[in-house]
Point group: C2
């Protein structure tokens, strides 16, 4: 895929004769502390492009689909190559297939998304060409990747209303305040602690454990566990 400033007539007809190319990309979300306030916020790792088009710009991890990989295998590879992590939550998000997503060739991207727990995100490697960014306020990314991240954020906010998705961003055990922080990070607004606590305690799949969070200054808060199914709207087809 080389960038060509002026496509010749021969290039255009050649392009029309080829079938569209197929790529897999992955949006990887995790909670990390904001640099300013220390509060949990949503972050994602991006990869710097080392070739044209969009050389030098940041992009979602991904690449062409090979013959040997299933879609899910390809997405798991994106996750592993970018962060060193194995997937716990990794699902298909959407296929993006507009005609002009790439300057040199038509590319259809099937996008997966992953949720990573904070302890895992801490272990993820960074390098010169792999860095984590806050999901809100990203600079201009390669291709239509800002649009894809915005779409993923929109879906994540919608899913928060009814699903188990929040718990994919937490560890196995968590305090009620930590659940509230996930909602605040994803919805990007503050949530009343007392109301939220009351509502959460009425939720069927939140179970109190006999353990307490250690290490704080105050009375240690109780740890809870999510007992519902972690499956969302797609079984593995």
């Amino acid at each position: 895929m080389e960038r060509q400033p002026f496509a010749s007539a021969a290039n255009v007809s050649e392009r029309l004769a080829q079938p569209p190319a197929l790529a897999i990309s992955t949006v990887i979300f995790a909670l990390r502390p904001s640099a300013a306030s220390g509060r949990p916020t949503l972050w994602l790792p991006l990869v710097r492009r080392i070739r044209e088009p969009f050389r030098g710009m940041w992009a979602l991890p991904g690449g062409p689909l090979t013959q040997a990989d299933s879609l899910l295998d390809a997405a798991a590879r994106n996750l592993r190559d970018t962060t060193g992590l194995a997937p716990s939550y990794l699902e298909q998000l959407y296929a993006f297939g507009g005609l002009h997503r790439s300057p040199s060739q038509r590319v259809v991207s099937i996008v997966y998304w992953a949720m990573v727990q904070p302890t895992e995100a801490e272990m993820a490697q960074e390098s010169e060409n792999v860095k984590w960014f806050r999901a809100d306020g990203l600079e201009t990314l390669a291709f239509d990747h800002n649009h894809i991240v915005d779409y993923a954020l929109w879906r994540l906010r919608n899913k928060m209303a009814y699903g188990s998705i929040a718990y994919h961003l937490l560890g196995e055990k968590f305090t009620l305040a930590q659940v509230r922080e996930v909602y605040e990070a994803v919805l990007d607004r503050t949530v009343d602690p007392a109301n939220f606590r009351r509502q959460l305690k009425q939720t069927p799949h939140i179970e109190a454990t006999e353990e307490y969070l250690q290490g704080g200054k105050h009375r240690p808060p109780r740890l809870y566990r999510y007992t519902g199914t972690m499956a969302e709207d797609s079984p593995v087809p």
Copy 2:
């Protein structure tokens, strides 16, 4: 795509060198009366394959993605070519990309689904190679298309629980009994009429009109209208 009973070694290496092919298929659901009871049941149109592989078998409408069509345009074309209808509800369902979906070539299919209102479904043409079938109890279809229909049914049942999806299978105005029939058809079980009616009347987006259904023997039932948003979990990206 010709069927080859025994792939030679040359074919295998040739196959591995090619990128996977990309197709668009569309699952089109509508309510139609059951032949036996006359009650509304879920149906979908299928197309008979006129070439290998799976020649003579029924399949979901679809075909290779061309350079000129967006994903949605290709799905709308499937719908139009199969039924003569323009889409009212047409959304991306899922991308299926297993390694062995087609015997001669690896094909990744991005599947859309459409909901069609009963009056539209009545107008849909049938022909020797296009026929409507009941969604439950389908014969063996070409490729993995039984699996895709089962997945679509599973998603439809899940969506019934919280969304506006039922109203895409009805006309603009409907009786409360008609809404119940949609639920019964999709969930494939009977629903208590009094309980359902009570619950539905508490739903925020169901509004009574001043009109009544004409033509029955009994006291004509009131017509209602859905006033919520028809958008589900995907804006047009």
